[in-house]
Every structure is written in structure tokens, then in C-alpha cells.
């Protein structure tokens, strides 16, 4: 970063596109649930497992997994962030593919691991980034055959790290678009931050909440029942604010919407 060389920037292309993916999903994947799923929001991770299995994947859950370390790094503690990054790599390295229902964590693996780790660890990080998928990317690439139907009107919140750091801008709508009967209504500023921002939400709570209010108002303005996102962090924040205000809008994870769309006889 300190050289006078060419500019650095975040990737701007999605990790996987349906048209670039090899035929058929990998036979087995490891699930990285995220610490939010482990501690507070198990629903989306459960739904992700069910959808992946419906796609014919064997899903492993490495028990040693915890957190990617993003909260520490973003709070100013890179040493702690590195410790957890190395732990994450050791935990998931035995697996050929990793899928996570958290766009922000996957972006952290892709963008920050190679940036904060050094030497052989950086190389291992790059290798892991090459086989770590955000859930919607994986389903967009390999879930074409899933029979999906659901009667709902939804709007999409494009979560920041997935949209920008990971560069994935298509997969959520592409997956939602396969659900028969589901209507997507676009809201204004869909790619604007919801105000979560990790510890930002506690350090500047009133600013964070004001941003959530703007987001919820736009979703309601679009006439949606659900605001769908692929990021547990955004969803925890939006749900918490919506609940506090008694907002009729529900914030829901994409994985749960897809699981519900599978129906009783869904999947293979």
C-alpha cells in the first residue's frame, strides 16, 4: 500500500457467476455459520444447511469454528484479528469448499485475511479465499434445479461488505428470481448501509439507529413485507430496530426465504 505502484482496490467482480461455474455442486461443503448464528440467530444457518442438502450437498460443521475476527480488527485490535484469522484458516483448510450465510464474514476472509496476515499465512489465506463462498453465490451457481415457490413481496438490502468488499452484486436477486410467486420490489438506496457497522452500532448508537430508520422507511415505502439480506449482522440490527419501533416490516435472511420456498416436497 505504501509503494508508488498501481492502485489497490477491492474486487469489483463477483466471486462466482452461474455462467462460470463448473457443472454440479461439490459433493461436500463445510458450513461457516458465523458467531452471530452461533450466539443469537441460528435460524439462517439452519436454513442454509437445509437448502444445501436439498441441492445434494453433504454439509459438514467443523466444531472448532468461532468467529472470523472481524469485530476485533475493525475495533482496532489487529493482533486479535490475526489470531482468529489463523484459527479460522486452520479450522476450514481441510475442506474443499466453505459456504457461509454471512456476506460480511466471507468478504472479511476474501479481502482482509490476505491483507492482515503475512508470509505463508497470507498464501494460505488466499488459497482459502479461492474456495470460500457466500451462501447466495453458491446457490446462484449450483442451485439452478431447486424447485422454489413462495408467495411473498420482498425488497433486497444489499449488504455493504458483500456488495463492495466481496464485489458480489448479482447472486441474491438471481436466487430470489428463481422463486415462483415471489415479487421483488426495489427500494431506494438498496445498496446504502443499514447503519450496523459492527461496534459502530454501539459506539455511535444514535447515528446507527437513524441509519436503520432510513433503511426501514425505504423498505416500507417500497411496499415490501420482508427486507431480505444475506448478512446476519445487518439483519440483527434491522430486526432489533424494527422490533423496538413495532415496524410491520420483517428483516429476513435469504437462506430462510429459500428454505421456505422449498416447501414440504422441495429439494431432490
Amino acid at each position: 500500500m505504501a509503494t508508488s505502484g498501481p492502485p489497490t482496490s477491492s474486487p469489483t467482480s463477483p466471486a462466482v457467476h452461474p455462467d462460470q461455474a463448473p457443472p454440479g455442486p461439490p459433493a461436500s461443503v463445510a458450513l461457516f455459520a458465523s458467531c452471530i448464528a452461533d450466539l443469537a440467530a441460528p435460524g439462517p444457518a439452519r436454513a442454509a444447511v437445509e437448502v444445501l442438502e436439498a441441492m445434494g450437498c453433504r454439509v459438514s460443521f467443523p466444531e472448532a469454528q468461532s468467529c472470523c475476527g472481524q469485530p476485533a480488527l475493525n475495533s482496532g485490535f489487529p493482533g486479535e484479528g490475526r489470531l482468529l484469522a489463523r484459527h479460522w484458516i486452520e479450522t476450514f483448510e481441510p475442506f474443499q469448499a466453505v459456504v457461509s450465510p454471512s456476506g460480511s464474514c466471507v468478504a472479511h476472509v476474501h479481502h482482509q485475511f490476505p491483507r492482515i496476515l503475512e508470509g505463508p499465512w497470507a498464501a494460505r489465506a488466499r488459497d482459502m479465499a479461492g474456495r470460500t463462498y457466500e451462501f447466495s453465490q453458491f446457490v446462484a451457481a449450483y442451485g439452478e434445479g431447486l424447485p422454489l415457490a413462495l408467495d411473498a413481496t420482498v425488497t433486497v438490502h444489499d449488504s455493504c461488505h458483500m456488495w463492495r468488499a466481496l464485489g458480489e452484486r448479482r447472486s441474491v436477486r438471481s436466487v430470489l428470481g428463481r422463486i415462483e410467486g415471489l415479487r421483488i420490489v426495489e427500494m431506494e438506496d438498496a445498496d446504502t448501509c443499514c447503519g450496523f457497522g459492527g461496534t459502530f452500532s454501539a459506539k455511535f448508537p444514535y447515528v446507527s439507529v437513524a441509519m436503520a430508520d432510513a433503511k426501514l422507511a425505504r423498505g416500507q415505502g417500497a411496499g415490501a413485507q420482508w427486507m431480505v439480506s444475506a448478512d446476519p449482522g445487518c439483519l440483527m440490527h434491522l430486526q432489533a430496530r424494527a422490533a423496538w419501533k413495532g415496524s410491520p416490516l420483517q428483516a429476513r435472511h435469504l437462506a430462510e426465504v429459500v428454505r421456505d420456498a422449498l416447501g414440504p416436497g422441495g429439494g431432490r
Binding site: M1, G5, P6, P7, T8, S9, P11, S13, A15, V16, Q20, A21, P22, P26, A27, A30, D38, L39, A41, P42, V49, S60, E63, A64, Q65, S66, L73, S75, G76, F77, G79, L83, L84, H87, P94, A97, H110, Q112, R115, G130, R131, Q137, H161, R164, A165, D189, D191, T192, C193, G197, A202, K203, F204, Y206, V207, V209, M211, H237, A240, W244
Partner: protein
């Protein structure tokens, strides 16, 4: 000629209504940032400011980068990094060239030194009245306050800055300084200084300011400007404005002091062909701002206007210490303000809430790195790290990564008790059993606590609980239970053939390998007639008028008709030989209703006129009268800005001043509604003919 400012008459009658953190010359936040930002949310008018900023973000940043602008962005990113690779070398070259052109260069380490230099120039020349065009560098050194303390009248002449000077506020945005003020606010302010009613429409308010500022331009002893770019190879200072005040400030007073921070230098004059369009596009999504003034030295013998003295003050203020370090790239910034529009936190709290000269993402990175490191220490935390700023940045500065690294620097500098917590947390969570244990403890504790007590716990929960229900931590561990009970004894899968690795980011390309596209993406015009047609269409887009005539005689008659017998200033230009006899010519442009000029070049793709100063070719002719008529033979048409800059770079001798004029004088400083004819002409006619 000198005297006191007319524009500042009545200023003492203004009752400031701003919060203390919006004051100019603020050194550090008066209270911790979480408190200041909370106050900012409650500031009257903040929802309206947010709504305005949201619109500007959608308009200016939302469309993203597509060719040809994405190509220009790549080139600019490389040019800026090339500059930083040998900053001292380019500064040396720049200083040498400016001195060779007849200017005086002053290097200043910090604000005190810079103020001392400017004070000395003012004192030596008996300066009483200073007109200023917008400059963030002078905000940084708190110049106005210093000059006022010396008893000098200093007038901000950019409309937005003038409003803020009267209101005793700092700019809240780099290029839209008064974006936080409504037109009603501004009208109330102007009524206080006027001591009577003024019209409330943006055009009335702009006219009020124009009328008050006009005499000050004419009578000022010294003009102070910033510098957008300084070309090292020619010693040329480039200034970008829309209203025309930048041109006034650099052409009317007898002394011009240009203040720049070190990183404004660029290697080559021809780099302006990339950077001038890009900064306009990034800031306001137009291919060029209305005016670019390229100053290469003071007035030359035989020239009737322009400053006798040109001083360039180059301020470091901590920047060169960043070279070679992890934050070097922040110096690539070209001050377009796009990162501010793009930032949802900035839009929510407004620029003043950052309590620093620079707000928004660039401010949150730059402020703690320059000057007093403690002043902006908390700023890197005032971001949700959403990354929109990195996408918006026209020179690809990795602002979010820098914010993350600055947070680490902040924590490393101080004994934060949270450090112990984070260390213990990381150690526990980097060990499978440790994480599972913490999950069990969390669930247990959470279930024992009555819901009301959960938000009262010390730690991050307290902030979270302000307006949000607490996260349902009673679910901790449930996921793993579900997985276990559902499929007991499952073993980790054997590694199998995986899918193709996701594509990584594309490697950046060197600037020299990229094509330099036309700004409209269209192929160059096929012939002079088509070029003239395109120029006329481009002029229409910028509210000027093209008149395509079939002969030189018809064109000359058209010029005379447009002047309509009114007092006319005319320049001594080879294309205008014999024209003066047909017009009621006045010598002084300030007495004229119309200014008639030739051009050096005219750019078909943007409708830009390139005018050069010289003996008999005054800076004022195309600037001071309310109307401007240019006579342009087809032979002076060029297809693109790139070709124009290349041709102008080859001019010998290099003109002391080149002005690019693209349309009519414009301001968007009042609720971002465009008003026209602010300081430069409100009517521009370009008469074209084959020849």
C-alpha cells in the same frame, strides 16, 4: 484603489445560530464525537440536509464508473501514485519552474509558517482588502482569522463560502460548502446583513451576493486562491471553479497568492487532460466545470491585467511524513468530495459533526494524520466501514482499509482497558472448546437476567440498547444442538474435488497502457462542419449558444448584432482584426456590457473555449462584462479536451494565463439548485465560421 469590503458590510449584525462544533477554526471537538454526532442528529434542518445529500449521492455517486470515465479513473489513480513516488522531486521541479516564470515560491512546514509568509506579503504591500476563492488549504491553516486579526478585510467570494463567512461557520462539504443551509436560512442571513428584505429564490440570493462582491473584486489589493493541480514540468497552477470567482481573484488584484498543500503537484501539464475532467465528473457528474484557470506566472510586459506578483505558498502540515508509509495513498486525493456524498454516516450527521476541517471519509482518514494527532483521534471510528467511499473515489484510495488501520493505531497509542477484554476474547475464541464454553455461559447468563437488565450491562450492550431490542442471546448454542441431534456422529467430509476458484480482482493497469478516450465516448468528428455542429450541441448543454455561419463576413455581422450597439470590450486577437471598428468599443472591461474575444482553441466534445492572455488579450474581456461573444473559425476546433491540452502544452511562449470556459457562470451553492451568471458572464455566444 483600496478600501474596506462592501460585501462584508453589516456582518456584525448577524446573530450566529450555529452549534459550537460548526465554528470556523475549530481545533478539536468540543465534546467527544459520540456526543457531537448525537447533537448533530438533533440540529434543526438536519433531516432536510440529509435528504439533499441523499439526492446528490444518487445523482453523482450512484451511477458508478463506466467507460470512458472508468478509464480516466485508472489513469488518474496511476498519475497520482506516480506523483507520490517522487513528491519531493516534483515539488522541486515545480518550484524551479514557477520561479522561472516570475513567481515567488514559499515552502511552509506548518500553519504558523504559512501564515507568517502570507502576513509578510500583505504587510510589505500595504494590503487592506483581500478577495479569496475557495481553498481548503487556507481553511486548514485558519488564514481568514489571522488576516482579520491583522486588520485586513478578507472576503470569501465563492457563493457558498460567502454565506458561511457571514454565518461564521466552516464549510460542511469540500465542494458544496453550504449544503447544510436551506434557502430560507440563507435569506434570513442576507436580510440581517442587508438590514431589509431580500428575495428568497436562489437566483435572488445569488444576485444579492454578486452585487455585493463585485466592487470588492475590482478594488481588492490581493487575491488568495487555492490550487487544484500544479504541473511540475511547466510551473502551471490549475484552478477549477464554476462561478468565475476564481478567475476574478487571479486576474483583478495586483497580487495573487496561491496556497497549496504539497500533494497538489502533478508531473506534467498534459496530466490536466485527465484530472480536470475527472475532478468535475467525480464531484458533480459534469465533463468539465465551467472554468479552469491555468496560471503560469504573473502578468507579462504588455499585458493590461493580471497580478504583478504571483506567490505560491506550498504547505506541508505533516503530509510528507506520510510518504513511504501505509497511509501515503491518502495524498492521492484530488478533493472532489465524492466520498463525502457517498458516505451514509456523513449524510446522516452532516459534515460539521466531524468537528474538523475535513469531514466525511477523507476527513476521518486525513485529520488524524496531519497536524495535531489527538485532534481527530476518534474520527476513524465514525464510519460503518460500508466501503462506499472506496467505490466513489476517482483515484481509488482504499479509505476503508485506512480507517481500519487508523483504529489500530489509535488503540495502540493508549492504555484501553478494552484491550484486556479483546485479548481474552480472542484467546478463548481461537480455541474450539473455549468458544463453546463462552457460548454456554452467554446463554446461561442471558436466561438469568430479566430482559430489562440486559441493556443495563456495562459494555457494548448499553449503546446497542438505545433504541433497539437486545439480541436474543438465549439462542446461543442452539445451532450446534440442532446439528448434533439431527445427525449424530457426523464426521468431517473427506476433501473432494472443489469448484473453480472464484475470480480475484483484476490487476490494475499502468496508465500508459490505457487508451485516452474522448469524454463523450463518441468517435472524433469527421470534419470541421461536424466538429462545429458538435460544439454547438455541447454549448447548448451548458446553456451557451453556438451560431454556425457560412462565411467570415456573416460571422462578423453576427458578432456586431449580438453586441447590439452596447459598450463592448474587445481583445486584440488575430481573428478579430478589423472588428473593433464595427463596435462601440470601451477600454475598461468594467464599463462594458459585452466582451468580444477570439479563442486559442475550442473543444467540440465539451463546448469548451480555451482563451489565452497576452498583450492586448486581457483576462477580463471574457470575464467581467455580463455577456461574452467569441468568434471562432473552424480551424480552431479540436475534437477533445485531451487534444486541446496537448496543443496548449506546446504553445511557445507559454501564456501567463489560459482560461477554459465551458458555458455560463454557474453556482449550485443554494440547496444545490443551479443559478447562472454569478460572477462570470451569464450569456455566452460562440460564433463559428468556416476558415
Amino acid at each position: 484603489m483600496t478600501g474596506r469590503s462592501e460585501a462584508l458590510q453589516g456582518r456584525s449584525k448577524v446573530v450566529p445560530t450555529r452549534p459550537d462544533w460548526a465554528a470556523p477554526g475549530l481545533d478539536r471537538p468540543p465534546r467527544p464525537l459520540p456526543q457531537v454526532t448525537t447533537e448533530a442528529l438533533e440540529r434543526p434542518g438536519q433531516p432536510a440536509t440529509t435528504a439533499r445529500l441523499d439526492i446528490l449521492n444518487r445523482q453523482y455517486v450512484g451511477p458508478g464508473w463506466a467507460p470512458p470515465w472508468s478509464d480516466l479513473r485508472e489513469r488518474a489513480a496511476c498519475i497520482r501514485r506516480e506523483t507520490l513516488g517522487d513528491l519531493e522531486g516534483y515539488l522541486g521541479q515545480l518550484s524551479e519552474r514557477v520561479e522561472a516564470n516570475g513567481g515567488v515560491v514559499h515552502r511552509a512546514g506548518g500553519p504558523a509558517e504559512a501564515l507568517g509568509v502570507i502576513e509578510e506579503i500583505a504587510t510589505a504591500n500595504g494590503v487592506e482588502l483581500v478577495v479569496k476563492s475557495k481553498s481548503m488549504a487556507t481553511e486548514e491553516i485558519h488564514l481568514n482569522h489571522h488576516l482579520e486579526a491583522m486588520g485586513i478585510d478578507v472576503v470569501e467570494t465563492d457563493l457558498g463560502e460567502y454565506i458561511l463567512q457571514l454565518a461564521d461557520e466552516r464549510p460542511s462539504h469540500i465542494v458544496a460548502p453550504a449544503v447544510h443551509r436551506s434557502k430560507e436560512d440563507i435569506a434570513a442571513l442576507f436580510e440581517q446583513v442587508a438590514g431589509g428584505p431580500v428575495g428568497h429564490r436562489p437566483e435572488d440570493l445569488a444576485a444579492f451576493a454578486r452585487q455585493r462582491l463585485r466592487q470588492d473584486f475590482h478594488r481588492a489589493d490581493m487575491g488568495i486562491s487555492g490550487v487544484n493541480f500544479a504541473a511540475a514540468d511547466t510551473g502551471t497552477l490549475a484552478l477549477v471553479t464554476n462561478e468565475g470567482n476564481g478567475r476574478m481573484v487571479t486576474s483583478q488584484p495586483r497580487i495573487h497568492v496561491a496556497v497549496m498543500t504539497v500533494e497538489k503537484v502533478v508531473p506534467r501539464f498534459t496530466d490536466l487532460a485527465v484530472l480536470l475532467p475527472l475532478v468535475a465528473w467525480a464531484a458533480t457528474r459534469v465533463p468539465l466545470s465551467v472554468y479552469q484557470t491555468l496560471v503560469t506566472g504573473p502578468r507579462r510586459p504588455g499585458e493590461r491585467d493580471g497580478p504583478d506578483q504571483l506567490h505560491l505558498v506550498i504547505v506541508d502540515n505533516g503530509r510528507t511524513s506520510l510518504l513511504g508509509g501505509r497511509y501515503q495513498e491518502v495524498l492521492a486525493c484530488i478533493r472532489c468530495g465524492a466520498c463525502q456524498f457517498s458516505c451514509p454516516v456523513y449524510r446522516t450527521v452532516g459534515g460539521h459533526a466531524y468537528a474538523s476541517v475535513y469531514g466525511g471519509p477523507i476527513g476521518a482518514v486525513l485529520t488524524p494524520l496531519i497536524g495535531d494527532p489527538e485532534a481527530g483521534a476518534e474520527l476513524p471510528f465514525l464510519s460503518s466501514l460500508c466501503g462506499a467511499c472506496a467505490d466513489a473515489c476517482p483515484v481509488k484510495i482504499p479509505l476503508p482499509d485506512m480507517l481500519v488501520d487508523l483504529r489500530a493505531d489509535y488503540e495502540a497509542r493508549r492504555p484501553d482497558p478494552a484491550r484486556i477484554g479483546w485479548a481474552a476474547w480472542a484467546r478463548a475464541w481461537a480455541w474450539g472448546p473455549g468458544f463453546r464454553a463462552s457460548s454456554r455461559v452467554t446463554r446461561r447468563l442471558w436466561s438469568l437476567l430479566p430482559p430489562g437488565a440486559r441493556a443495563a450491562l456495562p459494555g457494548p450492550g448499553r449503546g446497542w440498547g438505545a433504541g433497539r431490542s437486545m439480541p436474543p442471546l438465549e439462542h446461543a448454542g442452539e445451532l450446534r444442538e440442532w446439528l448434533r441431534t439431527r445427525r449424530p456422529g457426523q464426521r468431517p467430509a473427506q476433501p473432494g474435488p472443489g469448484p473453480a476458484p472464484p475470480a480475484g480482482p483484476e490487476g490494475p493497469t499502468g496508465a500508459e497502457q490505457l487508451p485516452h478516450p474522448g469524454l463523450d465516448g463518441a468517435p472524433p468528428p469527421a470534419g470541421p462542419e461536424e466538429a462545429a455542429r458538435r460544439l454547438s450541441q455541447a454549448l447548448e448543454r451548458v446553456r451557451a449558444t453556438g451560431h454556425i455561419c457560412s462565411s467570415a463576413e456573416e460571422a462578423r455581422q453576427r458578432v456586431a448584432d449580438l453586441c447590439a450597439g452596447r459598450p463592448t470590450a474587445i481583445e486584440d486577437h488575430p481573428d478579430l482584426v478589423g472588428m473593433a471598428e464595427r463596435l462601440p468599443v470601451v477600454e475598461d472591461a468594467w464599463e462594458a456590457q459585452v466582451g468580444v474575444t477570439g479563442v486559442e482553441l475550442a473543444v467540440a466534445e465539451t463546448g469548451t473555449l480555451a482563451l489565452v492572455a497576452g498583450p492586448g488579450r486581457d483576462r477580463s474581456t471574457s470575464l467581467v462584462p455580463p455577456e461574452h461573444v467569441a468568434l471562432v473559425p473552424f480551424s480552431r476546433l479540436v475534437p477533445s479536451v485531451a487534444v486541446a491540452v496537448e496543443r496548449l502544452a506546446a504553445l511557445e511562449p507559454r501564456p501567463s494565463c489560459i482560461s477554459f470556459v465551458t458555458g455560463i457562470s454557474r453556482s449550485s451553492d443554494i440547496e444545490h439548485q443551479p443559478v447562472y451568471g454569478v460572477h462570470g458572464p451569464g450569456k455566452v455566444d460562440v460564433v463559428l465560421y468556416p476558415g
